[in-house]
Symmetry: C2
Subunit: 352 residues, 2 copies
């Protein structure tokens, strides 16, 4: 506990009896310019003192900190996978993500008024001079101006699951809602269902994907005049899931199939069905979305769209790295839409 702080290059140079510049050069690999014996001396001294390069200094000098800011909501297991994907690619390129959370992390409802907090978090990241930014924010318009400023300063921005209300100013990556909705619709149609319900989530600003998912689903069935679709959604606090599930299951006539915009909502249906003694899938087929960690373990196991969150993370990271490498130069903003896979399990069956 003597309080010896981290060794400096100066110490190494002194120990090896060379100038700082020599030490610096040798430790950075510019070895052929120096005598073999000198190199050995410096390397040994560095090892013995436990010297480590200081990326802060590097960051200051080159303007590259090798850190990517990441802003996400504290949400379900999907986000863990997105982060994992990001991390793999970034770490592979010797970058590190700096993750901040929006929302007070305690109370989801607070999200709505967190525009300022979100900007505050971005500031924290920028103060640390991150090289790029990956965001899944509750996008107030205030953000856009920030984006522009960042892009002007050549700090690339990638947004996940966000639809730009004005013209697209940053790269974007999202689940291909249309293709997913089609897949679900196709599945249910092929099973002969004609009376279908859709249970959406809280459709708040920070859950804009819920809206898109529901609408895509409605649209996918719009061409089939013989199929009836009715949508429902949770209240803005997300507290009435069970009630709505019960309401859906007591409709006359009762829908024979149900699409839930996430597996979370499917849970309510399972619960309500159990309460009414309805059997899944015999009485009602249920399709979820996301394939959250519990989906396969439900009784019956839930048919659901498995997103590719790791893939989303990986590609978001790659998008940023490409921009940073300049491979991407000044290309206009791209949108990448990532597919998802329909995992058919026991919760859907032929309509008898």
């Amino acid at each position: 506990m003597s309080g010896t702080s981290a060794p400096r290059l100066k110490d190494v140079a002194l120990a090896a009896n060379v100038s700082m510049s020599a030490a610096s050069r040798i430790l950075r690999g510019e070895r052929d310019r120096f005598g073999e014996e000198t190199c050995q001396r410096v390397l040994d001294a560095a090892r013995q003192l436990g010297w480590r390069r200081n990326l802060l200094v590097n960051g200051m000098q080159t303007g590259r900190t090798k850190m990517i800011g990441v802003m996400i909501p504290p949400y379900d297991s999907v986000w863990v996978d997105v982060l994992a994907g990001l991390h793999i690619v970034l770490a592979g390129a010797d970058y590190l993500p700096m993750t901040v959370w929006v929302g007070d992390c305690q109370e989801m409802p607070h999200f709505e008024k967190d525009d300022d907090q979100g900007l505050g978090q971005i500031s924290r990241l920028l103060d640390r001079r991150v090289d790029g930014l990956i965001l899944w924010p509750s996008f107030a318009v205030a953000y856009y101006e920030h984006f522009r400023e960042l892009l002007e300063r050549r700090v690339p921005v990638v947004v996940i699951d966000h639809e730009f209300s004005e013209d697209q100013i940053a790269d974007s990556i999202e689940t291909d809602e249309q293709r997913c909705a089609n897949a679900v619709a196709q599945h249910l149609l092929s099973l002969g269902h004609k009376n279908i319900a859709c249970l959406s989530s809280r459709e708040t600003a920070w859950q804009a994907w819920a809206v898109r998912r529901r609408q895509s689903f409605e649209q996918a069935l719009a061409d089939h005049p013989d199929v009836k679709v009715k949508s429902w959604r949770l209240n803005s606090w997300g507290t009435d899931g069970l009630e709505i599930a019960e309401e859906i299951l007591t409709q006359e006539p009762r829908p024979t199939a149900l699409f839930c915009v996430t597996d979370h909502e499917a849970l309510y249906i399972y619960e309500a069905a159990a309460k009414f003694g309805l059997r899944i899938p015999e009485d009602v087929s249920v399709v979820g979305f996301a394939d959250l960690d519990f989906a396969a373990s439900l009784r019956p196991p839930l048919t659901t769209m498995r997103q590719r969150p790791k893939d989303i993370g990986r590609r978001a990271a790659q998008l940023i790295l490409d921009r940073l490498d300049g491979d991407f130069g000044d290309h206009p903003p791209t949108t990448i839409r990532v597919g998802a896979d329909l995992i058919v399990r026991g919760s859907t069956s032929q309509h008898s």
Copy 2:
């Protein structure tokens, strides 16, 4: 897209027609030393240019980067909460966590041989000069030496859910396994169960808590000679959950109650029970651990110990901050044990 990089203090000073030192002092709040008009000029210039303080420089000069390294495994929803807890406290003190993951994030089995990778990740954090380190690692002995070096350099280390094999050299925070095991045991005893099984997880080095949890449970029942306890555990790849669950449920006589060291294992029991037509809790009571996001939604809802991951995160962060503030000075390493709450739901009942 003009490529104007971030404005420097020099620019602000120039615009306000003062020296850099004046600008620096005014922007850092040392305002009373300067004329009101000068302050205004500097503040205006800074705002107009969009100047932001550069924490890299601050970090270099003061040796404090206001970043805390966090190393965690890519695991279940519990970790999201731990991170959230960490984040709340750290952000509140103007710190930011830098999170890295151990393991290749794809294949959990890889963990075992990741000692090197873990050290590599720590290096990444140290290269960025984090002020402190919070770890849930797969602790090879190699780490210990690293710790010592860090502590010597006054970089505080806090470990989560780790039992030191040598003497405790860093602060530690963990779930109070003994109290939890007692609570579960007490619950099952009070329901009249006398033949109890315990299903542990993969008991690998990086899941040392599983061992402690199982042992604590066995111990909690050791004083009751009329109660029979038998333990089982998954193989080291964690692939035989269902088989073992089936094995347990076909014992003669069949245990009337089952404690699973996490809710994940409870899922196997549910599945096996469904297969054999056994009813929960009438034929067998089941207790889980962790209260993962799906626990309440199972049929029947799972009785489980709800950990306080957010609390663990919060306290780990506070521990680090205390050390950094010197409030903690050179106190010897502490261990904080965090309790958990028994959530009694429908999966346990009186033994008839």
